[in-house]
């Protein structure tokens, strides 16, 4: 019997990809529903702490589109993602192209090219495994995305990381 991956795992399968894996104690139908019903998605698709999700529109079918926006409760700043569904195979697979919209955050990231996100859902013994592979247009964009971490607000991103490293390395 396989071990339950009850904490998200992140790996870098190639220079341009990020792979996120996680198991859930729920049926695949339910996990699928939580990923495709916008009313449910906005309850867990959290932005950075202190950000709410005022816009969550999703038309989950092949050729459909989606729009997600987060807003800082404090500054009112907005950023988001939007994209389109290239392949939707309920309840097993979602393949979508995702564009980052930096909104009020600015930043130097190239946002012209989408990330291609391949999400698979499999169920075994009442456990649903999610495997999401995100392929970015370049290594630089992949690295920038991972670096934002987004744990403490995306604005901080690189600056915070640079500071952390400077402290550790004494330069």
């Amino acid at each position: 019997m396989k071990t339950l991956i009850d904490k998200a795992q992140v790996t870098l399968p190639s220079d341009t990809e990020v792979r996120v894996t996680r198991d859930f104690r729920a049926s695949r139908d339910l996990v699928w529903q939580a990923h495709t019903d916008p009313k449910l998605v906005r309850r867990w698709m959290l932005g950075p702490p202190g950000w709410s999700m005022p816009v969550c529109e999703m038309d989950v079918r092949t050729g459909g589109a989606y729009l997600w926006r987060w807003r800082s409760d404090e500054s009112g700043k907005i950023f988001g993602f939007h994209g389109d569904y290239r392949e939707v195979d309920m309840p097993a697979k979602i393949l979508n192209a995702e564009y980052y919209d930096p909104g009020d955050l600015g930043g130097a990231m190239d946002t012209s090219q989408p990330a291609i996100i391949d999400t698979r859902f499999t169920e075994r013994d009442g456990i649903t495994s999610l495997v999401m592979v995100m392929e970015f247009a370049s290594k630089a964009i992949r690295d920038a995305t991972v670096s934002t971490g987004m744990t403490d607000g995306m604005e901080m991103g690189y600056q915070r990381l640079d500071k952390l490293f400077a402290e550790r390395h004494g330069d």
Partner: protein, 118 residues
């Protein structure tokens, strides 16, 4: 090197299975080039090449004092590489913890509107 260049060097150095095996060996304690070459079907110069890549990435260092110049592992770049991904991992885990909770609620009271039919 900037922090992102440093991470590039770390990941590039880790991208090779021989170098990962060398690091695994050095994680158990320092070793000379000859000792490191032993488990591999490789010449000492070939191993030295890998050691140079690892050293350039700051993943190992050479003790200059001793005659056999043993190599030793340096933990900081690996810790940075972990920290780099860890922020992103935590970001997703925060979402998935919320999803766990939502799934729990849905199992108690499944929403009636959008049943999935096969």
């Amino acid at each position: 090197m900037t922090p992102s260049q440093r991470l590039d060097a770390t990941f590039a150095a880790l991208a090779d299975p021989t170098r990962r095996a060398i690091l695994a060996r050095l994680a158990q304690g320092e070793a000379s080039v000859a000792e490191l070459a032993e488990p591999f079907e490789m010449s000492q110069p070939a191993i030295s090449k890998h050691l140079k890549v690892l050293e350039k990435a700051g993943l190992i260092s050479t003790a200059q004092s001793a005659q056999r110049r043993p190599r030793k592992i340096e933990a900081a770049p690996l810790a940075d590489a972990n920290a780099w991904i860890e922020g992103y991992r935590k970001f997703w885990e925060r979402r998935y913890s919320a999803l766990d909770e939502l799934l729990g609620q849905l199992q108690v009271a499944p929403p009636k509107s959008k049943r999935i039919r096969h």
